[in-house]
Symmetry: C2
Amino acid sequence: MAKLTQLERLCEKKGLKMTDQRRIIARVISNAEDHPDVETVYRRATEIDPRISIATVYRSLKLFEDANILVRHDFGEGRARYEETGEHHEHLIDIESGEVIEFVDAELEALKERVAARLGYDLIDHRLELYGRKRRD
Amino acid sequence: MAKLTQLERLCEKKGLKMTDQRRIIARVISNAEDHPDVETVYRRATEIDPRISIATVYRSLKLFEDANILVRHDFGEGRARYEETGEHHEHLIDIESGEVIEFVDAELEALKERVAARLGYDLIDHRLELYGRKRRD
DNA sequence: GTACATGCAAAGGGTTTGCAAACGG
DNA sequence: CCGTTTGCAAACCCTTTGCATGTAC
């Protein structure tokens, strides 16, 4: 097999038992430029090695998520999407193409903390998605 | 039956055929202080009149949603929650009690428009939820 | 009266799980 | 080796749907 991906190394460092299936799934996510759903990860994984079942994809993705190696997103489509854990960012979803654009906005980050504080809460987590249409003018 | 709720009047104004089931479902939502899920609406409705099936609850809620009488929320729990359409607001979810607190923040509203614009998009919709823990100090 | 709404139960999509066989460290 | 992981298929949860019956306007 080719050289290890960043994600595979991370898995080993966390002490996860690395099976061929997990390596391939980690590799698929590593190489993904998009935010693939489970079915898509499964498809890409079986292209590399057909000996992978959808159950293993579900189990591995959850394992990686619990190990903070992956982040699961729920964009309200009734199925989960995954991406590699990285710097914090928000998502804007193009409602015409489905494309997901990542962005960060310092003001927004500060503001949600302030809002939670104003309500008497410590902010533990949040969810922010913008849905927009590309401007043509 | 008791006097009509605001929601029932709204349904009639929109020309919806008002069956007993729809009246009761509208009434349940009208009286709800929380953001009930379908199962909860069903339970409360059947307490008033057991002749209501879960299928009708699903159908009526969707009907009301399409008529902009209700808003459906997906707080990432794998099931929908509903509330009466009203002034725009966001939600903060207490991760310990599950309680949902509504809030508005003008700055936040303006900011998300600006962010979308910066990325070259017209903002069509958005989703913002804060998850927090009540501060005790 | 007639088009529409309902109840029931079956089907649907995404996800999880029990079990015996295969496997990693 | 031995506990963990896998594949398979069945089970799960929430939601939708086909069909015969019942009902609002």
